[in-house]
Symmetry: C2
Subunit: 512 residues, 2 copies
């Protein structure tokens, strides 16, 4: 552990001590990982992958399209720009990436929920961007503002989700030109966890930043990251205006960005996992360098989203060994770069919260967690390749995230954990159920799942033979029944409301 | 990689080249792991755990009950035996453990299916010992010989299961005194994969060894491991007659044993994970030392089976963070000891093949696989804390095992995988779907799951909205319809049949 890590860990601990604990366990504002990292690549393979990244940056280059200002920024840095193609010296890109913080804090409006992003910390956020929702009784339907608000409330109440994300489902009943305002208002009032802002257009990003300024005040915002934008590149090797403008908007005001190449290997990248990983690194590193040109020291999260393909149909597949391996590999590469990493999630191609959804999500998320991903979008609620947000899936995944939080604490080898005193009480062939060491420690010994059933089959049948999906349905409904909004100054709430009303009356209804 | 590992790897590759490929993919007789191991413990913590193991061996000791011959063997080795308590010098135990092979081969009657156990190889076997079976249409019922035979046939046909295990369900319709004979006959004739033998009584172990001798011949059996017994200790710190007799029977004839402390933390071991791990190591190492006293060089697999507990009911729980962490830890400890390891599996407390079953099994098995477990019993089919074998669960788990096999191949960073030629064909913003590199490589680029559905929601609904459990039901039934027995010399089959008939007429019907 570096001195920097130790210091941040202490800061983290201070933050946690002031936290209100939401219902359920474990509750901490984010994970401070104690388990060591896993490094799957030998040095020579790592060097070869990094050489491929550099080759792409220097020989193929990255396109920055439809944003002349972005090209000007590159040119001012002395970079070779041919038309819209940016071919930069890899050493320059790496030097610029080194200006980004290895770790930074995103403030929440409740300071006890502020999150550290980078180093040994890990932050889980729910699914993002699904146009549909699904629940056990309501079936599959378009997302709307009512569903969106429920999902924000559930995310607020689930202790293993540290961050609100943003578009937990698309509120398709609200015009595209205005829905970001409603989403921001709900995140800012119905939850006090940190969240992201809009990126689909420069003015929507600016609305996000303006509303964050209402919540946090100009001074706090000048000195801290209080909101971030999450954007995709347009793989292969293309950064379109949406991405470069979002970087300019967020980083321009000292806020953070997460830039994520979404690569379906064989389509938006070569069919090999190694080549797709290298390409994703090149794209994200170029954007990180660009962000540092916009504002040196801008908080930046290196994103990675790799999916595999069904040979039968060409459809994307999730939870498969190629993206699972890529999580482990990208973790190691990001650590070497010294950049906070977003990758993985609880991903699946399944349409419902069945066994397929769970197997794929668990393998995807286990590797994401073990790889040390610092910010995990889609860590709960994702169904159907990201097209639908599942209400049951959200609480099921979150239940498993709690178990990962326990796992990342590592093994306690203290003298108390060695329990030598227990062997004075318990003879060979006996049992430890009532011995002193057990009585003193059993309450914190095990992760207590809210949704896993360990009853015997007779009890389980007596209680209705409910499978996990049914139990999850009951749980999220009961949670919403007991929801209470976190406190907020009425004046701030009014100011946010007035902003939303004013912007909504200024903007036309548009569905694009 | 050591020279030994390289040599074995080559041998493995030769073995594989001659294999008949069963239906499905990937097909290899066992996994040769290329991904490096993960070591979660710092040296000082490892040393502390090992000191706890030694403290238990020397200060508390292990009971060997109801088997005077076992105590004689310990005494002849000069060990301090007080009554039935064996307190051995830890250095002696460690020196004896060092006589066990780091890696050995278990021959299958089809040589192409022989497995290497130890080092970087990994072998997956199905669930063992469940008295009940469950399938989607037939529900839950006692296991019987018909179910048993179906499960052996399915295991034979599933390419990701490398080993037959033994009691895939208890054939409860056959007297306990005779059922081992039927089970052995079915394993030896309906499959040609390696398998285990009976251990519940000395004479049943001897029957297993005698029947293996019919299959392999005395000479082959004298020089090779062709069958193994899998036994539990009676934790805490007790080795009963079943275990010590099985070790004497199997190792006495040069065959292998797997000795597995089954510890529910807080009941058969202290409530802490660290203490339970240390106790399990002490028990298994004592048995390994005992096996080496019976026959120096006897193949031995160090077993570990740790489960956590529900605070609500005291019931065992599976797939939870404590046993998941223990898999990673035990992997590291077994490598340091230089002994082949059995741990983990696709474990769950769920009653059906629902999302709970899949989440728990995946987290349990992902850690088992990454931990480098060399022999994995219960890697497919386990339900309800081991009380039931699920037919759907068997094929679902096996499908995931195939993905682990791909994952353990590690990352291909060859020049072909770097795909630089593809970037000459594909412009930024273009796609790789039809480019030369994709066309040359797509067929082997991705693991093709048999049971994961990646159709879009409309196609999926059109095809009947089948969840994974329903698809698995259809798959195992279709598999059984196409089952063909592997070839076997008629004279050997007759000899086995005659042995079974003779022993069955000699033995009384007994239900214990």
């Amino acid at each position: 552990m570096t001195t920097q890590q130790r210091r941040t860990r202490r800061r983290g601990a201070r933050g946690a001590s002031g936290a209100e604990k939401p219902a359920g366990s474990p509750a901490s504002p984010y994970i401070e990982r104690k388990l060591p990292f896993y490094s799957p690549l030998a040095e020579e393979d790592l060097v070869k992958l990094e050489a491929q990244v550099d080759w792409l940056l220097e020989n193929i280059g990255i396109e920055y399209r439809d944003d002349p200002e972005a090209l000007e920024i590159w040119k001012r840095a002395g970079v070779d720009v041919q038309g819209t193609r940016v071919k930069a010296d890899a050493q320059l890109i790496r030097a610029l990436c080194a200006k980004a913080p290895r770790k930074f804090t995103q403030l929440a409006r409740n300071p006890a929920r502020s999150v550290e992003i980078g180093g040994t910390s890990q932050v889980f956020a729910p699914v993002y961007g699904a146009p549909f929702v699904r629940d056990l009784e309501g079936g599959r339907r378009y997302g709307d503002l009512e569903s969106f608000e429920k999902l924000v409330k559930l995310t607020y109440m689930l202790p293993s989700l540290h961050h609100g994300g943003f578009v937990t489902t698309e509120p398709c009943d609200i015009p595209v030109s205005k829905r970001h305002l409603d989403m921001l208002f709900i995140h800012m009032t119905a939850s006090d966890k940190p969240h992201l802002g809009a990126i689909t257009e420069m003015s929507r990003a600016e609305d996000s930043l303006d509303m964050a300024e209402i919540v946090f005040g100009r001074e706090v915002m000048d000195e801290n990251c209080v909101i971030m934008g999450n954007v995709n590149t347009n793989s292969p090797l293309l950064v379109d205006k949406v991405a470069s403008e979002a970087i300019r908007a967020y980083c321009g005001r000292g806020q953070g960005v997460i830039v994520v190449p979404f690569i379906l290997s064989g389509a938006m990248g070569p069919v090999s996992t190694a080549a797709s990983i290298a390409q994703a690194l090149a794209e994200a590193m170029s954007c990180c360098a660009f962000a540092q040109l916009v504002r040196p020291g801008a908080p930046f999260v290196l994103g990675n989203f790799l999916s595999s393909m069904s040979l039968k149909s060409g459809a994307p597949t999730f939870g498969m060994p190629e993206p699972v391996l890529s999580n482990y590999v990208v973790g190691q590469m990001a650590r070497r770069l010294g950049l906070p990493l977003r990758c993985g999630g609880s991903l699946t191609a399944s349409k419902t919260a069945d066994a397929q959804a769970a197997y794929e999500s668990a393998d995807s998320m286990h590797s994401t967690m073990m790889a040390g991903a610092n910010f995990v979008l889609h860590s709960a609620g994702w169904l159907e390749g990201g097209l639908a947000t599942g209400f049951e899936k959200l609480v099921m995944d979150a239940d498993r995230l709690g178990s990962y939080q326990k796992l990342l604490n590592g093994l306690d080898v203290s003298d108390n954990a060695m329990a030598r005193d227990a062997y004075a009480e318990v003879e060979p062939g006996g049992h430890f159920l009532g011995c002193g060491n057990t009585m003193a420690n059993y309450k914190t010994a095990f992760y207590e799942s809210a949704l896993s059933d360990s009853e015997n089959v007779e009890q389980w049948e007596e209680h209705g033979s409910k499978d996990m999906e049914r139990r999850a349905y009951e749980r999220w409904n009961a949670m919403l029944d007991s929801y209470q909004a976190p406190p907020m100054e009425q004046s701030k709430r009014d100011e946010l409301k007035a902003y939303v009303d004013r912007r909504k009356s200024d903007l036309p209804d548009a569905w694009y």
